[in-house]
Point group: C2
Chain length 332, copies 2
DNA sequence: ATAGTAAATGATTGCGCAATCATTTTGCAA
DNA sequence: TTGCAAAATGATTGCGCAATCATTTACTAT
């Protein structure tokens, strides 16, 4: 038995194929009675729409394009999980593009993903090329930028302020009594740069910013890199007594390196991570971290892009963050 | 300027549209001269095939369907990374289905993904329903089962023996001098069950298997769960002096719990993890783990499914594993 | 040279759906 | 009731490609 088509459903329901199409795609435009008849026929025949035909005829796909820098970064797997949750059960599916932190690559991939026109686009960060912004603005589809926050989104945006989060976290280290605070960062993308900026701002507000208090790399973030960067930091800034890390895996690596060297955390050295990726609450001592709403960003972005959010809600959503204070910054 | 179609390319190259189609899809069936003409025209016009039209006309898509139990598990993100690598630059794209460790759900999703027929299927594990095996066997597309190994695959298989890996790891603990070895496992899917079976086999080969030496749960694996299960294990099996963990995050959690309790690793307690997820080499002490070829499984499965592997190679590929001995099992 | 065959290329058609425009039915005011 | 607008439904067409079958060209053996 071949798969039923709209024509089959129409025959079963006693109406024309195009009417069935309409009943399914814009139920509000047809009569109540028709809707019921069609629904019954669809169920009886087990009709499933052919997406290729639909896409070909309308030049519009049911995909939500999601552009993220990397798959291996836990930050994005959390966000993707949120999107996946929100899309589950809807007629939309997710098409993922990995830009590898390269906005030209991003533009290239996006161009290829924009044909046929997807139903929506979710894209990480604010650093699209001007071309990309143009393309997206003119594509005629909902676009949600995620992760960061800005008063001037392409269309909609959901994220939080990385500067503020880092500033608050740094202030927390100051308040905890640390006096020579360093910054450790890997994968220094623009959001990481903002975290660094927030760090600098908080340090300056409390005294003097030292050049040598910063150790960063563009290589990927990992526990191993945390250890490497701590070594770099302590050699250039020996009096350092606390660090703010760019990401939790760095923080974990820093803790391990401290253990290796016999440096007592938090008494001699304070550690604060970022993103609260799950392990930081388990280490001994547990690590203070900036809890960020990763999954919720994904969930909400997906809801916004498929138009499931309240009409009234703003196109700019700042989900904020939270400092989860743990043992690694609590001198007794 | 509308997107160029096969007709446009044909006009440019001075041949018919269908000939262009053939030149692109089966270049070996056309003359050298034609191939060059068509390539030139394609480049000049910037022709990009319309996948929807292709799929609709042939009822066959360019997708490789990938069925995995979960996205949040690092094990599968590694495998997916390998698949993604191997597919990069090819004409195939990846369509991911999450089964949530449920073979009925798997069957349901697979049915929906099998229309239109994909170019290939990569599916985790051996525990498909009989229905699923039938559907896949009859789909007329390459199917690669991954993760596990079996003499009787649906079509092809690439993985390693979980029983043997666990057996070897357990024997390592025995050889390291531990005498009361326990097993900690979360997310007890069939591969985890096999690891447990391998553990039991090795224990029996060296003495007596004690019921209380096993602490498992069906909940997801995490560092926190490692701590919870260690508590359970030590309360039911106080003389326990080493554990084999199902997965590295459990092992990490076990180490932290030992640190909290002041249990010395490896002197008083040995720990061996599984999958070598990157963090185990960084902890203090570093954790011995079973290094498994996750990324390579993905890479190879993708190559096999798109027919890029040597014709000569076997449809059954056992990639084996390796015990990475670290501090957590080295009593001095 | 010529038949016979294989290789190369072409013409037609339909995949299943939605855009567009056309037609019918319904509701309702006067 | 009639007329008319609005709502509901229908007919036709083409999206871009590949399957199928048809035709032309090139090549080989004798």
């Amino acid at each position: 038995m071949p798969k039923p088509t709209l024509v089959d459903v129409g025959r079963e329901a006693g109406v024309s194929a195009i009417t069935v199409s309409r009943a399914l795609r814009s139920p509000e435009k047809v009569s109540e009675a028709l809707r019921r008849k069609v629904d019954r026929a669809v169920k009886k025949l087990g009709y499933v729409p052919n997406q290729s035909a639909s896409t070909l005829a309308s030049n519009k796909s049911n995909s939500i394009v999601v552009m993220v820098p990397s798959i291996s970064n836990n930050v994005f797997t959390d966000v993707l999980g949120g999107i996946s949750d929100a899309l589950h059960g809807s007629r939309f599916n997710m098409q993922i593009g990995y830009t590898n932190y390269d906005s030209l690559e991003e533009e290239r991939i996006l161009r290829s993903f924009l044909n046929p026109t997807p139903s929506g686009v979710i894209i990480s960060g604010l650093e699209q090329t001007e071309e990309t912004r143009q393309i997206l603005a003119n594509a005629g589809v909902p676009v949600v930028q995620i992760m960061d926050i800005s008063p001037d989104p392409i269309d909609m945006i959901v994220g939080f302020s990385h500067d503020q989060a880092a500033e608050t976290a740094t202030q927390h280290l100051v308040d905890a009594g640390y006096r020579n605070i360093g910054f450790i960062g890997a994968q220094m993308d623009p959001r990481s740069q903002k975290r660094l900026a927030g760090f600098k701002k908080a340090i300056k507000a409390n005294g003097t910013l030292l050049e040598q208090s910063i150790a960063v790399t563009n290589k990927p973030s990992s526990a191993h890199m945390g250890a490497v960067l701590l070594s770099k930091l302590t050699s250039q800034f020996p009096e350092c007594d606390a660090v703010l890390c760019n990401n939790d895996d760095l923080a974990v690596g820093v803790l391990f390196e401290c253990q290796r060297r016999g440096i007592k955390v938090p008494e001699e050295f304070g550690i604060c991570g970022f993103n609260d990726l799950g392990i930081s609450s388990e280490t001994v001592p547990s690590i203070t971290s900036v809890t960020t709403p990763l999954r919720e960003i994904g969930r909400l972005a997906a809801a916004m892009v498929i138009g499931e959010e309240e009409e009234s809600s703003s196109p700019i959503v700042d989900l904020s963050y939270n400092i989860s204070v743990r043992e690694s910054t609590q001198r007794v």
